[in-house]
């Protein structure tokens, strides 16, 4: 595979389904809706798709396992959106939306595929079932946490956030700046579950505690919804409705430490630093080149972690860094301009990736930033194969590879 140059890969189409707290349609139909919109934007047909890639895991503990209902994998989509020219598919797990994009990018760069469809669909069942850890035998990662009433998604990340606050003297009042900014952005994003529903600092500080130090406003809201992107070559992107976004740096890495059910701040920091180092090693770009960032915020704390690991500020400085208008749409580093996961709803990677592409295309209306050239998107949690990608308006030469051993 060393012979022949790698091809440059772009995102030429993006699409969301409807996103709401509950929808009557199974998410298999929502994934098709998002995929069809992404293909329409790309100016391509279903038969042009020759590759499928996704992160298939159901979005919460205790979910069922029906493809098309509880999650949407390559099995469901290859049947529901049948392309006569399909010849490659990949499911990435552990992983996240960007991890699966990177699998698709490799398939195109090496010439295996011309057009890869990547999607993520999430389901919020009615009733109390979302994320419920049932009684009975506590096994596996839950053996040492569930008997103590912790280990669910909220408590496993509230733990490291509690240490962050204690170790660096950060305050919840500082996080209010971030969450209020997200909701301000979501309020002008018609795709967001919290469209036209901004909040105030007082709302944030008065919100009901779920697992202290996380209140309900530190946690993204479970939704039914899907997002999809079309990856292809520069040549194939000529049919697209909007200018394509170039993939100009990437990493997918999640070095595991301990058990997923109880994460540790220092482990998160170390794993995120490894992911960030891998990202910057693939590109000539540096943090100072980044015009805006969409950093995963399924729980608010993750954004602090990524701001620091990626080099935007030092360890323990994120809570100060985000103050003073810096992260607003007209600030020096606009952050999570879609509203992030906290504003758009729990659809995992699409609020980060699709927003980055659409900002580069200048399509974001009231939340559009001025002349963006380089946008960073990060999705997932750092111990569980997070994904990092730099999207650019112009192609950026990759960082020269190390010389081959003599």
């Amino acid at each position: 595979m060393r012979s022949g140059a790698l091809r440059r890969v772009v995102v030429s189409g993006t699409g969301y389904s409807r996103i709401a707290r509950h929808l009557d349609e199974p998410i298999g139909l929502l994934a098709v809706e998002a995929a069809q919109r992404a293909l329409d934007e790309a100016g391509l047909t279903v038969d042009d798709v020759d590759g499928l890639a996704n992160f298939p895991a159901a979005g919460h503990a205790g979910a069922g396992s029906v493809d098309g209902v509880d999650h949407v994998g390559t099995g469901y989509l290859s049947g529901a959106l049948p392309s006569r020219n399909l010849r490659w598919q990949a499911s990435v797990q552990p992983g996240d939306f960007i991890s699966s994009m990177i699998a698709g990018m490799h398939a195109i760069a090496t010439g295996t595929c011309e057009v890869v469809l990547v999607w993520r669909a999430m389901h919020n069942p009615r009733g109390r079932r979302y994320g419920q850890v049932t009684g009975g035998a506590a096994v596996g990662e839950y053996e040492f946490t569930a008997p103590y009433g912790v280990g669910d998604a909220v408590s496993r990340y509230a733990m490291p956030y509690s240490r962050y606050l204690g170790k660096y003297g950060a305050r919840r009042e500082q996080m209010a700046t971030f969450v209020v900014n997200n909701r301000r952005n979501a309020a002008v994003n018609p795709d967001a579950v919290f469209y036209q529903r901004p909040i105030t600092v007082e709302d944030y500080l008065g919100a009901r505690m779920i697992v202290e130090p996380f209140s309900i406003l530190d946690c993204d809201m479970p939704v039914d919804g899907a997002g999809a992107v079309v990856l292809t070559t520069e040549a194939n992107a000529r049919s697209a409705r909007y200018p394509a976004a170039h993939l100009s740096g990437h990493a997918t890495l999640g070095v595991a430490h301990g058990i997923p059910a109880n994460t540790i701040l220092e482990d998160h920091q170390q794993a995120a630093a490894q992911g960030a180092a891998a990202l910057w090693s693939t590109t000539t770009l540096t943090p100072s080149d980044v015009d805006s960032a969409n950093l995963y915020d399924g729980f608010s704390y993750f954004t602090y972690l990524y701001l620091e690991a990626l080099g935007f500020c030092g360890e323990g400085e994120a809570a100060d860094f985000i103050q003073g208008g810096r992260i607003a749409v007209d600030g020096k580093l606009p952050l999570n301009t879609s509203g992030g996961s906290l504003g758009m709803g729990r659809v995992h990677g699409p609020p980060q990736v699709i927003e980055s592409v659409r900002q580069l295309q200048g399509r974001c209306g009231e939340r559009q930033i001025v002349r963006p050239g380089v946008i960073l998107a990060v999705t997932g949690q750092p111990n569980y194969c997070a994904g990092y990608v730099l999207l650019t308006r112009e192609p950026v030469p990759p960082r020269p590879r190390r010389a081959e051993p003599a």
Binding site: A61, G131, Q132, V133, T134, G135, G136, A137, A138, V139, Y142, E143, F144, T145, A146, P147, Y148, G149, V150, G151, D152, A153, V154, S155, A158, M159, P160, S162, R163, G166, K167, R208, M209, I210, V211, E212, P213, G258, I259, N262, I264, L265, E266
Partner: protein, 145 residues
């Protein structure tokens, strides 16, 4: 004092071949942690083999039962079956004195939810739950007579 509202629907630890030594010791009111006989590193949760030396010569040894609160949460809205009537309750990641980065998770008992702080010294106590399972828990060190 156990955290209130214990329910038979709570998750119960299910020991396996690797973890049985931990729960067996707890049943005798001892905190025992898995240790590599070759390099003397401690592991919790227990591992299949010691990653640095790949040894499978691992055994459970008693530890002193003292440590520091590394991380601490207060659960107000639980997703764990059987804990609904117990909220609010505290849980913490305790760093044991034996080795930096050696952590166990437990509830904080003998103090009010939210009272214990990060960095505070704690000591193991044992609590028998409704299933007859002995759970290692941690209490503020000065509260243990």
């Amino acid at each position: 004092m156990p955290i209130a509202g214990a329910s038979p629907r709570r998750p119960v630890p299910q020991p396996d071949g690797v973890s049985a030594g931990y729960w067996d010791a707890a049943y005798d009111a001892r905190l025992a942690i898995q240790r590599c006989a070759r390099c003397r590193r401690w592991y919790h949760p227990p591992v299949l083999a010691c990653p640095p030396c790949r040894s499978r010569d691992l055994a459970f040894e008693n530890v002193g039962g003292r440590g520091t609160i590394h991380q601490r949460v207060v659960v107000h809205h639980t997703k764990l079956e059987g804990f609904e009537a117990s909220t609010p309750y505290s849980a913490a990641t305790i760093e044991l004195d034996e080795q930096p980065g050696l952590y166990v998770v437990a509830n904080l008992v003998d103090c009010r939810a939210g009272e214990a702080e990060i960095g505070q010294r704690v000591r193991v106590v044992f609590e028998r739950d409704d299933h007859g399972v002995m759970l290692p828990q941690f209490a503020p060190d000065e509260a243990v007579s």
